[in-house]
Symmetry: C2
Subunit: 370 residues, 2 copies
């Protein structure tokens, strides 16, 4: 018994294969591993490991010998084993609502880029704006051993925060800045952004406002924006008529339909605030197709600045968020946290009004309210 259980497990395996004979059984392959490299280089596994991870602590001679063996054998370190031993995977997870919206795609790209620079890798998933999916994917990422997690928005599945907390996974919320939760989120202050944009319109003398917002269901950013608009209006004693408060998803076509719907009510709004670039473009195109001049007859503004916004006629006044910066900040912050450094990162990202030609003074005839 005691003999059976005796020493090195490896020795056993080695002796199982008779010296260079036998059909080499079992498993996938006698793949090269750290051990093979060590043997071939005539050093211990520990030294090989060091040569890889802390070259400066290994003598030049061995370092070179090992490097050449690694090269010759084509050894690729095994991430799973390494993760198991270090309790670090070098992988970040990001759960986005979708990838097909320009801002998220840009942010994902930026995050990936930033991670790469620092030797990390990105696991990516899409929640389809569904908190339950978001939770599941975050969970799955934690199982995969992500070192940190990037989410979108402030409001998540009820159990998510507790779960992440319990599992000690550093997390940051993006695309939404809430001063109340400083340090946990990075992005624009959506409410403030639309508050300011709306004021900009108010100063043009508009009083009849409409919104083609993004659906606010499970989308706290959209909600915050809508509230920014309402707040600015309320400050002046204005409000949006119920029939002028419409919601859409993410398509030009929907923007068109909702705009038409809006412009066939009476009284008509003189200013339309849209929730995303596609709704905005749709609204502009449809208004034009209805024979209305933008901005003479109706002002239309959007959210998010994609190239086409500047290129169509008239170029569209909108809000620009540097979503790639949002991503880069998120990464910088998380990595700093992982490394125990303090995160010297701006958390609130600018949401700048890009003034172009789609918004202007309210039409005379509409100034009846005052």
């Amino acid at each position: 018994m005691s003999t059976k259980h005796r020493p090195a497990t490896r020795a056993k395996r080695a002796q199982a294969k008779q010296p260079d004979a036998k059909p080499a059984p079992a498993k996938p392959a006698g793949n090269v591993g750290l051990r093979q490299v060590a043997k071939a280089a005539g050093v211990s596994t520990a030294t090989v490991s060091r040569a890889i991870n802390k070259p400066e602590v290994v003598s030049q001679e061995l370092r070179e010998r090992i490097a050449s063996v690694v090269e010759r054998l084509g050894w690729v370190p095994d991430g799973a084993a390494r993760a198991l031993a270090t309790r670090r995977s070098g992988v970040f997870g990001a759960v986005f609502p979708t990838l097909t919206h320009g801002d998220f795609a840009r942010a994902a790209h930026a995050i990936q880029d930033e991670l790469l620079k620092r030797g990390y890798t990105l696991l990516l998933a899409c929640s389809e704006y569904d908190p339950k999916q978001e939770f599941q994917q975050a969970r799955k990422f934690v199982e995969r051993g992500v070192d940190a997690l990037i989410l979108v928005g402030q409001s998540h599945h009820a159990d998510l925060a507790a779960f992440l907390d319990r599992q000690r996974v550093p997390t940051i919320n993006t695309f939404a800045y809430d001063p109340t939760a400083h340090g946990t989120c990075v992005g624009p202050d959506n409410r403030k952004a639309l508050y300011r944009l709306t004021k900009y319109l108010i100063e043009f003398g508009h009083t009849d406002f409409a919104t083609i917002a993004q659906s606010t269901e499970s989308n706290d950013r959209a909600l915050a924006r809508l509230e920014g608009t309402k707040d600015a209006l309320a400050e002046r004693g204005y409000a949006i008529r119920p029939q002028h408060m419409l919601f859409g998803r993410w398509s030009i076509d929907e923007g068109r339909k909702l705009c038409r719907q809006l412009m066939t009510t009476s009284p008509r709004p003189t200013a339309i605030v849209c929730g995303n670039p596609y709704l905005t473009i749709g609204a502009v195109l449809e208004a034009q197709e209805m024979g209305l001049r933008v901005p003479d007859d109706v002002s239309i503004v959007g959210y998010d600045d994609i190239e086409i916004m500047a290129q169509i006629a008239p170029p569209i006044t909108t809000i620009r968020v540097q979503s790639d910066l949002v991503g880069r900040f998120a990464v910088a912050h998380l990595i700093a946290r992982l490394e125990g450094r303090d995160a010297p990162v701006p958390f609130e990202c600018d949401a700048e009004i890009v003034v172009r030609k789609s918004a202007g003074p309210a039409p005379r005839s509409a100034a009846r309210r005052r």
Copy 2:
């Protein structure tokens, strides 16, 4: 000696902590693991493992008991350990040129979705159209232990194929179908697609062609497309004048500039074939700004169908590739391979000409050639 090395390493650890005393030292935390669950449930670790992975092989009673303990303890299995033991990570890697182009974003989204359904997760990276970066990222993914890899295009870094082969990582090339390499790639036949589109224009009587292609450097898809156009023309004895063969990246603005450049040459082309939707839109907008009518004065066609293509005036004739299908096929194929099944998957994806209004008969005055 023999005593020292004797039995279970775990026993040692267990006895190291005196029975429920001492300040519990070291490491991150006495986190819950399989072992804790097993102990709490009064079963062996093997049984817990089975209860998770092959529930049907565990008695109902234990299964339930274990489930409740897992729940209570909030145990999350450790992916690294599992990967190490099974030699499967449950992770796929995808290296795309970029995420900010609609087609790749759609494909990435679809891939992620498809993987999720089957319990896999996606590692994503962007190569910036640089084969060297692509190679590095693929390499990194292999180190991370991906079970399979999704690449874009057929031509990669010289060493990549050999590397992947050596490491036995199932791989598929996407967005390019080459009948020669059937089974290793999935996507549209770019050459054929543009061959057909060009013929469509030829039938309108055009003889003076121009291209605003995507840069073909490290982009075999763009190259194939350009060649499709050339082939169709050559068949009729036509050719593109050097000054009518322009290259751009991915922006409306660049499309505009190149279009203007094209339309100030003499003779002017009567048909412009563009390499991506943004170049196309730019070309159309600029032509219009120059006072040209599309398609009366000049026909303009594009590649890839994004919503705006159908929404501007005139709606643009283009080629539609269902990039989400490309992604789904890729996943289906790889998973089938992993499971040892044969992949019942169509490899060539349709590249359909979406006929709209931006292409029409060649203007009279231009029919001089015949």
